[in-house]
Symmetry: C2
Subunit: 360 residues, 2 copies
């Protein structure tokens, strides 16, 4: 299938540092290429991909001194329009920016919404475009959408199977990964570890926006002897950090639409103790890949019972539900559902032809 | 003619307070309606107009706590698309936001660029859309455009003839109007008045962004006996303030694309002493509506000769060049030039019919 993936330009694909959307776009793109599809990736010029890369903007915008990021995205959209005739399906990851023209192109298209939806201004745009085919990254994410829209499916994020290996949980600590921010509740994680009598290692970045919160609320908590702050870590160190942890603490206080770190832990065989918000009940299989809790006492009890969870089973659940293969398969189903059936027959016959060829 | 005017949503049309673009959109829209055209104005719901008003967003965005102004503008664009078939021509005032779809609509359209163009990011978008019909608000504005684009004309801003009346310049002061900012150079204006031995009255707002500049550079200058700071003034007080002034000082230090206050002064019969930047040599007719200067000494000399300028002539020049009537006529010429000639014949025949009817 000829597929366009349209990424934001804030980070390269994949991102050099942090960048949720662009990371998922990269995993999906590479997996679709691996499966033999003809994929074109619209992304910043410093992206690395096995797909065809189409870029106007040389470098990702976030790390540069860019005054007007919208100008780059609007130019990118014109590039997309000019290439539109080449594709069977166009997959947008650019919020609502393309909505005014994506219907005018008369091409199968869909949009994955990667962010939070409970922002009042979004009412105007999503109500106006209620026929646009949208994909949520969890069912829970949809609760934030204030108007009726055309959801065509939920596709969970996935990770490459070989990104992390199962660890043995043989460290003497629990792990916390994320921004030091009020929604992520590092304070809760520190308290849970304290009451459970176990060390906690915190891998986190402190954004400028959260500096005040850190100074006021977190810094002194981190000075306790059971807390170790190891700063921000990349993917190279994350596997070992998570794999050795007894559990990942995920005591969030907001409706996180997906929560990538949960499946990262699962990929390392590490069970997750997560508060019941956002996508948590969809991502965590209770007793199989972790525990879902509502308060500190429950979290402590979960930690006491953490050895009841089989780390092989956690990794298995990850492989079964959250690999890039599964994610790509789910998206392919949606792509197929959007393509007029006359076209679909052509694909089938091509596949049949290949099968016949491989047999002969 | 059936005309769409598409305004930004930051301010109402006309704006309640400051708002350059929306103010011009209002003047143009009302004048086109007055001339008998069928005008539809896309603007915030708190706008006041004799045109048909189409709004999704109830209140202008700038005075509200809006997290995502782009969402409102993208929704507005879809409204524009849905109405596009109703118009003979579509006039956008929304920078480059509509470019990806405005060509897809197959309708005559043009875009007035109201802002500064020398921003590196704009290279990407204007290069990509180099065929979009663009209008500059001064020839000088085009110098900022870093790439070749499709300029179809320059149309200067205009003011309603009855907005201000000619004053007699019988105050004992020179006037300065504008933000207290480094580009507007209130310090220079104060120095010029001092060296010329005349009082200066400063009508200005101090934006949060300029507070530091004000405290550091301007506040102590304002404490001099020849300076009077009267704060921000609305249109109701502006006429008298400008009309009584001997001259307007406009000692700018940046390529201002138009400079509305110059024609406001001219409407009051008040000559302008302006530094040679941006649109100044296009707006000021030397010796007729003011003097163009390069330094403080020249400004002082211009002030000494200010009585050589006939205030009736200044007002006349304003009426001849900068009324809303002139502005609307200039835009109408551009609209006509974009409409295929077959269509134009229909307009002419209608006009002829009306003429015949009025004669019979």
């Amino acid at each position: 299938m000829k597929i366009a993936q349209i990424s934001p330009l804030y980070e390269s694909v994949p991102p050099k540092l942090y960048g949720g959307t662009e990371r998922v776009v990269s995993y999906l793109t590479e997996e679709l290429v691996r499966q033999g599809h003809d994929v074109t990736l619209f992304a910043s010029g410093d992206s690395k991909t096995n797909a065809k890369l189409v870029s106007l903007t040389e470098d990702a915008l976030r790390l540069k001194d860019v005054q007007d990021p919208l100008a780059h995205h609007i130019a990118q959209m014109q590039e997309v329009i000019e290439h539109a005739h080449e594709f069977d399906v166009m997959h947008f990851h650019t919020d609502y920016l393309h909505f005014p023209f994506s219907s005018l192109l008369n091409k199968p298209h869909l949009t994955t919404l990667h962010g939070r939806l409970d922002i009042p201004d979004l009412v105007y745009v999503y109500h106006k475009f209620k026929k646009q085919p949208l994909v949520s990254i969890s069912d829970s994410q949809r609760k934030g959408m204030p108007v009726d829209v055309n959801w065509i499916g939920t596709v969970y994020h996935g990770l490459p199977l070989d990104l992390y290996r199962k660890g043995e949980g043989d460290g003497d600590y629990v792990a916390f990964i994320g921004r030091i921010s009020p929604e992520k509740r590092p304070d809760r994680a520190i308290q849970i570890a304290k009451e459970a009598g176990i060390k906690i290692k915190i891998a986190a970045k402190i954004d400028t926006a959260d500096e005040d919160y850190y100074q006021r609320m977190i810094k002194q908590l981190m000075e306790q002897p059971h807390v170790e702050f190891i700063g921000e870590i990349g993917e190279d160190r994350k596997g070992e950090f998570l794999g050795k942890a007894k559990a990942l603490l995920f005591p969030i206080d907001w409706p996180e639409p997906f929560g990538m770190v949960m499946i990262e832990a699962m990929a390392c065989g590490t069970p997750v103790i997560a508060y019941n918000h956002g996508s948590v009940p969809e991502v965590i299989d209770k007793g199989e890949s972790g525990f879902i809790v509502d308060n500190v006492a429950e979290s402590v009890r979960a930690l006491e019972n953490i050895d009841l969870i089989d780390r092989n089973k956690v990794r298995e659940t990850f492989e079964k539900r959250f690999s890039t293969g599964v994610m790509a398969r789910n998206y392919m189903e949606l792509y197929q559902s959007l393509i007029p059936s006359t076209k679909k027959l052509v694909f089938i016959s091509k596949e049949l032809k290949n099968q016949v060829r491989s047999l002969s």
